[in-house]
Symmetry: C2
Subunit: 554 residues, 2 copies
Amino acid sequence: MTNQTMNLFEKHKNTLTIAVKALGQRTYYTPYPENPKGYAEDADLKAKNWISATMNNDFKGLKQTGETSWHGEEISPFLQIGVGVRYPIFTVDTLINNATKAQNTWSKTSIEERTAILIESLDRISTRFFDIAYATMHTTGQAFMMSFQASGPHANDRALEAIASGYQELTRYPQNVEWIKNFGKFDLKINKDFKPVAKGVGLVIGCSTFPIWNSVPGLYATLITGNACIVKPHPKAILPIAIVIQELQNVLAENGFDTNTVQLAADSSANPITKQLAENSAVKMVDFTGSSEFGNYIETLPKLTFTEKAGVNSIILDSVNELQPVLANIAFSASLYSGQMCTAPQNIFVSKNGVQTANGIISYEDVVKGIAAAITGLVDNPKAGPGTLGAIQAEATYKRANEAKSLGGVLVLDSKAIKNEEFVDARIATPVVIEVDKTQKEIYNQECFGPILFIVKTDSVENSLELCKTLVMEKGALTCGAYTTNNETKETIATEMNNAFVPVTFNFTGAGFINSHAAFSDFHLTGGNPAGNASFTNTEFVSKRFVWVGNRYM
Amino acid sequence: MTNQTMNLFEKHKNTLTIAVKALGQRTYYTPYPENPKGYAEDADLKAKNWISATMNNDFKGLKQTGETSWHGEEISPFLQIGVGVRYPIFTVDTLINNATKAQNTWSKTSIEERTAILIESLDRISTRFFDIAYATMHTTGQAFMMSFQASGPHANDRALEAIASGYQELTRYPQNVEWIKNFGKFDLKINKDFKPVAKGVGLVIGCSTFPIWNSVPGLYATLITGNACIVKPHPKAILPIAIVIQELQNVLAENGFDTNTVQLAADSSANPITKQLAENSAVKMVDFTGSSEFGNYIETLPKLTFTEKAGVNSIILDSVNELQPVLANIAFSASLYSGQMCTAPQNIFVSKNGVQTANGIISYEDVVKGIAAAITGLVDNPKAGPGTLGAIQAEATYKRANEAKSLGGVLVLDSKAIKNEEFVDARIATPVVIEVDKTQKEIYNQECFGPILFIVKTDSVENSLELCKTLVMEKGALTCGAYTTNNETKETIATEMNNAFVPVTFNFTGAGFINSHAAFSDFHLTGGNPAGNASFTNTEFVSKRFVWVGNRYM
């Protein structure tokens, strides 16, 4: 360990200590302020200039050489024109050879060195949060605030969580012990060392909607455990993670490490390299976020896999004190980033007998109308609508939302475009609301990614729970919401859904939304239901990436 | 939690605390004395009476009902006659239904309740150590001392290790926290709970040579994490684990729990039920010890698997201070239980240039002769031979040892029968020693289970290491021994073998043997090489068996 990295470790030791403690406490903790005002005053202006200068140019910031060509196909959902950034394209062989070579040296570094480098990279990334925000906006369609928070501080939180968890597990056992067994007449003394040995090159496969937030947990978990990492982003959302990799490579270079320890593996829709990389025998672990179909394929590979696939999130609406705040909360959760969050609710299960409130029962019909009204109220408000909805990332999602009314059921509220003053060409679709009967499972028992909400009319809350649980066991879910003022019902819902390995969020109103999973407190995914086999960040998420080996010496 | 189980938890709390601490320290710790003299004076006599009364009778000690028939086919390797004990046979449906029902209640118990029940069961089992020793002798062929230690205290140590590790992981997070996020003008307060949810019924598949030691880690890891467990022993080695299950069921019954939380699933060689159980969708996790062929099949099942398969263990003999103690140590390791330990060495890699000692070089030829002489000296000593060798468990192993000389290579020392005064009909085979050239990989690059030792003539220590590492990467290994007085060589061997996920044991002489893996200190298997995907007991061994779920409440 050089003096330089030793100083770097000292610099970040306090952050590490607090982060490790936070992992165990699971109370509120975030080292990176989520409010843009917490950063340099001129940062926003500089970032606007940066994105202007970056668009329509080749991305030259990486320390990777030997590209065979340059390619880019990102389209801004807000501008509906190409972003115009091209990225270096490498052969699979080049990527694998570089990674294998880097693995050799990176795996030999000390845990402290890796920790120092990785936390330092997060600090550097935090100086780019505004650049990252604009890069995220113009690839994913997230509105500015979400782009800033989800790709910036919240992603850094998750990355730090993976580093802290890795550090904790990697230092769980003493490096050396003297083991003494008394045999009466003599002692048998054996010296032992315990070494966490890195498993091998990792591959992180990104998605188009959360290109940083969903990728950095796997990336940092791979790196902290001593493994080199190849990051294969979605070809439509490369720019945000390219910045992250640029900063990581800078810190690696400054401290004398192989910059290929982390590589960007951009590809094109026409010539995808994901399967070639994933199937390569040198790749020992794969982190994946994306479709269930591809995720299921990844899980069949004879290697370590960490997947986040599709799920169908539901809300069970049984009884409330006051209905309006609940409807407003649901409307926001369903509208935020136009339902393109993996944690967005899709199905609202409501009993035909309506919803009990402190002021009597609200009929099922009025609840349906209320949900539609709450959505309309939100999206039609020019101060709230555009910033909540953002834009639709993919043409297919836009089409799905607009064609949802022909899926069957009763159309309650159609999707529409609202005006975004700042981006008049933005691809916008407000949530479509469709009422279905509990028997119409062919409609609601599948993920309809995007701003599509089904209100499912059930016989009772018990029936709602049964349908919700069955759905989760078949299709998986990242979250489940429930509104009930009855303690027994609350307990039953928690028990039943938890037994299907899905967490439940009860009675959220105001500033609490089921969509949000806070680092250092909420596990993102449980790893136990069909929505994915990983969990951000339980111990397995890091401990599977290395092997404990203990040598003995006499 | 009843008063009774609360008292039970208090009773064992100290043991638990010490065990959890020991897990992290990895120094010497064993709560169950390994010396038979540490137990009741009349225990041995009582056990001798017990085994006499037990043989040729039905095993009626279990609290399982609804058997369709009774069956037993164990043969004592010491007597070479049938043990004559019959066990109740159940249909797969009965076993699965019972387990599913028991899972329902057991998964709802508190961690403290489970811990109390399970540690209490170990105490009860310890009162049966002598019974277990005789049961183990007459099914596995282990000599008395190994039967006593491996199936008794050492197995209990490993079981306690799994309980302690489970307790530690299950209590890693607070059950409830208040999460408060400040929004400037107001606080968002969310109550959260964190629940470890049991994954589902476990199946433990036992082997014929270590029917308890290899089964209890998986059994206790399954139980402590809230899962019911079906134990499917090898049809030739049921009696030892039947005692363990009997004691577990007794403690369950006394404390009002479903005794089907753990079930014995005996079967027969003619009508095996292992695959039916393993493939049943209600079974969520499988612990397996046995052949690589069956283990590889188990690993392909779409469920959680923990395997210990075959491996080829090697010793690299480079340089020593004094050769004789080293040869004696190797001879003992190879002869102990006639090489039927999964940690027994099979290949001794020696350079054609011989072995450097403090008194000059000993030629390769003299080393070969020395190994043979050390084995002969051990096995021909009537005070040491029979107690070290024990008997051969399976006819196939006996045949393999006797036919090994026709595998190729040069026969250095043939296998033979020695006299066991106590058991004149014992099936005995001393180690056969065969000299092979490094090029004869078709002979030595495979597991030859039993008392078979290959001395591989290599070009140099570097060549030995290369051959050893390649073998491990292809076939796996549980351990590797090395003798070298050169620090640089030592470091190279450790690094290279560790990178293949195999631990190295250096320069063992005297009372230290590479065969021994001590609970709370040595990981048994790393989980990283082809010899198996599990490790006794790293955190994954328990944490994979449950899922963290966090509910949120407003």
